[in-house]
């Protein structure tokens, strides 16, 4: 098969989706290059799942153009789905089957010859760290194991693109790190990853490029470091607890930008050293000094916090 690196695996122009009068995806444009990890970062209801469903051809679009692997979707979605793996937001494993049977039966839907399936299942179970659970029933698995099995299932057809809708939501930090490692491995093999998340850390670690989405619109796109550089000063000092107005007025005079959200005050600056020296003298409360990140970009772009 010829893979032209320059041709994007997904191209969307003016993509739009309405549910009745609610606009879920409001004319978005994006291009996903081959072999990278592309993320949709946004809060609940931003339109991430709706966008992915349109990519799979499972949700008819109300406007715009969409091609996946060079083919128009949803018209040719049957062909594109044969070359894509999906890890959906909600668990869709088959409770009537064991771990290995879930993979075997699923491979049957892709017309993979039975002889090729067994070797592939061993490989996938090893990849998902589930070799010792191959004959376990699905309902006996933990949430993290189910997620890993779902990822393994998305790989049965050796896909060129793997689409993951919130791959680690609801999992503990340790499992999350295991999954991140596996996804990085896939990307290193040349698989294009498309994922949604509302975890900053996940987006920062995994994504080469991401779009920040809110209320069906794309607010900006770029690499995590580009987005940070474009929208916020490099350092931030977070003051927790009720703000001291006089102090804030003085900090404002020190070449800093101040934002208030909830019970915290965020002070953005090019260089936090003078500010910290000043605060050290007068401020007895909780202070957090950190490099700025996607959370701050999101706050800047939407005026709202992303995490709940």
């Amino acid at each position: 098969m010829i893979h032209n690196e320059a041709i994007p695996v997904v191209r969307a122009q003016g993509l739009r989706k309405c549910f009745g009068r609610r606009v879920a995806v409001d004319g978005i444009d994006f291009c996903i290059p081959r072999g990278l990890c592309f993320g949709f970062l946004g809060p609940n209801g931003a339109g991430k799942t709706t966008t992915l469903r349109m990519l799979m051809g499972l949700s008819p679009k109300d406007g715009g153009e969409l091609t996946v692997l060079g083919l128009p979707v949803p018209e040719r979605a049957r062909e594109t789905r044969a070359r894509v793996g999906l890890v959906p937001q909600a668990d869709t494993l088959d409770p009537d089957f064991t771990v290995a049977e879930n993979l075997r039966v699923y491979a049957g839907y892709f017309r993979i010859p039975r002889a090729a399936i067994d070797a592939r299942i061993d490989e996938l179970l090893a990849f998902a760290n589930l070799s010792d659970r191959r004959d376990a029933r699905v309902e006996t698995l933990s949430g993290g194991m189910k997620r890993r099995l779902t990822i393994a299932r998305a790989l049965v057809n050796d896909p060129e693109i793997v689409i993951l809708d919130e791959p680690t939501t609801g999992l503990d930090p340790q499992v999350r790190h295991v999954i991140w490692g596996r996804l990085a491995e896939l990307r290193a093999r040349g698989v294009t990853l498309i994922l949604t998340t509302h975890y900053m850390e996940e987006a920062e670690r995994l994504c080469d490029t991401l779009v920040v989405m809110d209320q069906g619109r794309i607010l900006d796109q770029g690499s995590p470091s580009e987005l940070v550089a474009r929208h916020v000063e490099p350092e931030v000092v977070e003051l927790r607890g009720a703000p001291d107005e006089a102090l804030l007025a003085r900090l404002g005079g020190m070449d800093a930008r101040i934002e208030r959200h909830g019970s915290s005050v965020y002070v953005y600056t090019q260089d936090a050293a003078p500010l910290l020296a000043h605060l050290g003298a007068v401020h007895g409360r909780a202070i957090l000094h950190r490099p700025s990140g996607l959370e701050d970009v999101f706050l800047r772009l939407t005026g709202r916090e992303l995490r709940e």
């Binding site: 549910f19 799979m56 499972l58 949700s59 008819p60 049957r78 062909e79 789905r81 044969a82 793996g85 999906l86 959906p88 909600a90 668990d91 869709t92 494993l93 088959d94 409770p95 009537d96 089957f97 049977e101 039966v105 699923y106 049957g108 839907y109 892709f110 017309r111 998305a154 057809n157």
Partner: protein, 264 residues
């Protein structure tokens, strides 16, 4: 507002992918084969012994046949209806909604066309299994006309397809399991009574008789009874045609309704 006009009525395409869905269901069935067969054999045995022998002693002959033979050949058809209706509603709904099996299937190259074709073939297969069980019981009781009775099984398969379509259409619009009570009380049970399973159609008032001519079970019984008992058949093409029409029409409706439910 005419909501049926909003449905996506594009003609489904039939592909061998449907067989993958059939195989999935078969694999699941294999592991519950014990309880499944107890149901398939136990129920008709009780009906046939209880009604056929017990009631048959009072009734004697019906339509020129011993009552047990009349009843057994009717129950071959009606049990296919009941089995297929259960599968097409409770089981199909379970896979479509709470279990999200269809969501998983739709992430593969399969379309709703394939999924429902596979489900329909599977429902009909279960109908054949239950009909075969009754045939065996009936043969043991000595009322089957000979090996020619096996010809009833392919007909039962078609009967299964004819009942699977409406049941899947009900699943496509159901909000919960209780919804299926309507179908059982308003459709399945009346057919059980009106379509010549327990007594000949011509004992019914003329108006009811002409209504019964529109019901698929009437045609199923009309085809299956002579095959089971080794008697001459009549109007075969008419009966086959009605069953085909039900199967095809309700498959198309079910596909359109499931598209509306899942492709949003």
């Amino acid at each position: 507002m005419k909501p049926w006009l909003d449905l996506d009525w594009r003609l489904p395409r039939l592909r061998r992918d449907a067989l993958a869905v059939w195989r999935r269901n078969f694999l699941v069935w294999q592991r519950i084969i014990g309880p499944a067969l107890v149901l398939n054999f136990g129920e008709p045995l009780i009906y046939l012994l209880g009604l056929g022998l017990g009631l048959g002693a009072f009734v004697g002959e019906v339509g020129g046949l011993p009552y047990l033979a009349f009843l057994a050949s009717g129950i071959v058809a009606s049990s296919a209806m009941v089995t297929v209706s259960y599968e097409g509603m409770y089981s199909v709904y379970t896979r479509m909604v709470p279990q999200k099996t269809y969501d998983a299937l739709l992430a593969t190259p399969l379309d709703i066309d394939d999924i429902l074709a596979g489900e329909m073939l599977w429902c009909a297969s279960k109908g054949v299994i239950s009909a075969a069980a009754i045939l065996l019981v009936a043969a043991a009781l000595g009322v089957v006309g000979g090996f020619g009775a096996l010809w009833a099984l392919p007909v039962v398969f078609l009967v299964g397809l004819a009942f699977a379509g409406p049941a899947m259409a009900m699943s496509a619009v159901a909000g919960n399991y209780d919804f299926f009570n309507y179908y059982f009380v308003l459709v399945v049970t009346p057919m059980f009574m009106l379509c010549g399973v327990f007594y000949p159609l011509d004992t019914l008032p003329a108006g009811v008789q002409s209504l019964a001519q529109w019901l698929p079970l009437t045609h199923a019984v009309a085809l299956i009874r002579p095959l089971v008992l080794g008697l001459p058949s009549s109007d075969v093409l008419l009966h086959l045609g009605v069953l085909f029409a039900y199967a095809l029409g309700f498959y198309l409706l079910a596909v359109a309704l499931v598209r509306r439910r899942l492709i949003v």
